[in-house]
């Protein structure tokens, strides 16, 4: 097994730092995110490392809370996506025929909407809040992941070892779980990471528009939206969450690339 290359390892470390920060914020190590210190829009300094916002709340604990909210929300949503997409994709790819067509058409309908439009639609139906953000992430990431898992499963389905298993009388459920699923596991892991970065982006966008996480709860999108108002007077309010958002997405994508290289090896094995 190849190890991850240095870039993906940087991504992994960066992601772990973000998760650790979120956990630290959860335990209140950086202070109470809702506490008002007094001074409003104070620049970063010894008292408040990242400055304070328009209500005089220290930005650092708010940022940590935001990282936690965004990561947790996106991860949960991607988990749901992974389960649904894997089930749909494996069945469609292996069974083929009408089932395949039905799944593909269904997914294409979702795919036809621009993701932010779809997300706004969901928020309009469900009502703004965390559930809306999660549902939007799920609906935006399902089409991509289903299609890729389906393609991988269809390739696996035409392999000789599947034919061998059919000949030896393996039934459909066993076939899907024991033979197809493990062989598309790499694709699922890789697409899961990409879906996670898309999820973070969607959450950011929705919350920025005021349709996702609602203040006073923090998320990266909420912080950027609130900080954006004081872009000139207090740029640190938008720069800190913005940088974190970029870092999170970048590190996840880089990690995904590394996983792809490792889990989806080319079919270049020696035959003899």
């Amino acid at each position: 097994m190849k190890r991850l290359d240095w870039l993906s390892r940087c991504g992994l470390i960066c992601l772990m730092v973000l998760v650790a920060a979120a956990v630290a914020g959860w335990f209140g190590l950086a202070g109470d995110p809702a506490a008002i210190d007094g001074d409003r829009l104070r620049p970063p300094g010894a008292a408040a490392w990242l400055g304070t916002d328009d209500l005089g709340r220290s930005l650092l604990p708010r940022l940590l809370e935001g990282i936690g909210a965004t990561l947790l929300l996106s991860s949960l949503a991607v988990l749901v996506t992974a389960v649904v997409s894997t089930a749909l994709g494996i069945v469609a790819g292996y069974v083929g025929g009408a089932v395949n067509e039905a799944v593909l058409r269904l997914v294409e309908v979702l795919y036809a909407f621009p993701s932010i439009v779809l997300a706004i639609l969901v928020a309009a139906v469900v009502g703004p809040g965390r559930p809306a953000a999660m549902a939007a992430i799920v609906l935006v990431t399902i089409p991509l992941m289903t299609r890729l898992v389906r393609a991988a499963a269809a390739t696996v389905a035409s392999r000789d070892y599947i034919t061998s298993a059919v000949v030896s009388g393996v039934g459909m459920p066993t076939m899907l779980v024991r033979h197809v699923l493990p062989n598309v596991g790499g694709t699922i892991a890789v697409q899961g990471t990409y879906a996670l970065s898309i999820g973070i982006l969607v959450e950011g966008g929705l919350s920025f528009l005021g349709l996702g996480v609602q203040p006073p709860q923090a998320s990266l999108g909420v912080l950027i939206a609130q900080g954006g108002i004081y872009m000139v007077a207090a740029p640190w309010l938008v720069i800190a969450p913005g940088v974190v958002l970029v870092l999170a997405i970048l590190s996840i994508n880089v990690l995904g690339d590394g996983l792809r290289d490792r889990l989806e090896p080319r079919e270049a094995r020696s035959l003899t």
Partner: protein, 350 residues
């Protein structure tokens, strides 16, 4: 040994027609295949790529890809019409009566599962002897295919095996339940030449011991004729010649078989040029109007292009050629080299 015997043949194809549905229209893969194979026979099915031999093998277990469609005709295996079976009996038929060995040995094993686990799954529901544990049964199976260190192989993943070892494992899995019919689709094409003979020996010895009927699909007429009692030559989706191996090789009755034999390097003397077959194999969109080989045939006459040749019997062979009788009597199809180096008794007949 001959084509039809009173005992019911274990594999019977009757006028089997299979099309592949491509984007630009159907492509005919099997154009009316007639074939009957008796229990325990070892039959070499020879043809170029695209002759339909792999499709025939897949049709045996109704394992055709979804874009393939049977147009008409039937395929009976062990008395069951495979295209008319309900899912459950079909599954049973495949599990109990059929074994497949494929060309790419590594691809025939699940890369995510240890070899031992895969062999165990191939054994499922079947225990060679109730006394032994499954682990012993797996080891015995791997030992049977002459793998040197069965315990180590059982712990390995497929990508850790060499091609020859993987093909032996695939064979062990195919033969785990002692099927009645084994379809070997170019089982040695991807192997080193020195491993090739060993693997073939193993396949034939195992199947002979189990009384399994073997359909060995290959493009190598000479290799097949050396080891099989009977050779079936396919061209353009039809069986164009069918007969005892030594007869087919020594006195080919179909111009295509003759051309195939003449183009084989083993028949040339040093310094002599090989005789290639001019042209390309046909790509049929529907039934061939006449003989599929007409375009490339040296002996072509007008009706070859317009009239499908009927089955003719020449010597011991069944031939699809309008001029079979005529060609035999004029000795127009001699082989350039020594065809008699194949002793008649070698082969799979028991």
């Amino acid at each position: 040994m001959n084509q039809l015997t009173p005992a019911e043949p274990v594999v019977v194809a009757r006028d089997l027609v299979v099309d592949y549905l491509a984007a630009h229209g159907p492509v005919r893969a099997l154009d009316g295949v007639d074939l009957a194979v008796d229990a325990g026979e070892t039959v070499g099915v020879v043809g170029e790529s695209g002759s339909g031999k792999s499709t025939l093998g897949a049709a045996l277990g109704r394992l055709l890809p979804s874009r393939a469609e049977r147009r008409h005709g039937s395929m009976h295996v062990a008395g069951h019409s495979v295209f008319d079976l309900a899912p459950q009996p079909l599954r049973q038929l495949r599990r109990d009566q059929l074994g497949f060995v494929f060309q790419d040995p590594i691809g025939a094993l699940d890369p995510t599962m240890r070899v031992g686990a895969q062999v165990r799954r191939a054994l499922r529901g079947r225990q060679p002897s109730p006394r032994r544990s499954t682990r012993d049964a797996v080891a015995a199976l791997l030992d049977q295919v002459r793998l040197r260190d069965p315990a180590r192989v059982a712990r390995a993943y497929p990508h850790q095996l060499s091609g020859g070892m993987a093909q032996r494992v695939a064979l062990a899995m195919a033969m785990a339940v002692q099927p009645r019919v084994l379809v070997a689709d170019e089982p040695t094409a991807a192997l080193d030449s020195q491993v090739r003979d060993e693997v073939l020996d193993t396949i034939l010895a195992l199947t002979r011991a189990a009384g399994t009927t073997v359909l060995w699909l290959s493009h190598d007429l000479n290799a097949v004729a050396r080891r099989c009692a009977r050779v079936v030559v396919m061209y353009g989706g039809r069986v164009v010649e069918d007969g005892p191996a030594h007869a087919v090789l020594a006195r080919p009755a179909h111009p295509y078989t003759h051309a195939l034999a003449s183009s084989a390097p083993s028949h040339a003397r040093p310094g002599e040029r090989l005789t290639p077959i001019p042209g390309r194999p046909p790509l049929l969109a529907g039934p061939a109007p006449g003989c599929a080989f007409a375009e490339r045939c040296r002996f072509v006459v007008d009706r070859c292009a317009t009239e499908r040749p009927p089955l003719a019997r020449v010597n011991g062979q069944a031939v699809l050629c309008h001029r079979a009788e005529e060609l035999r009597s004029t000795a127009a199809l001699p082989l350039p080299a020594r065809p008699t180096d194949i002793p008649a008794e070698i082969g799979g007949g028991r």
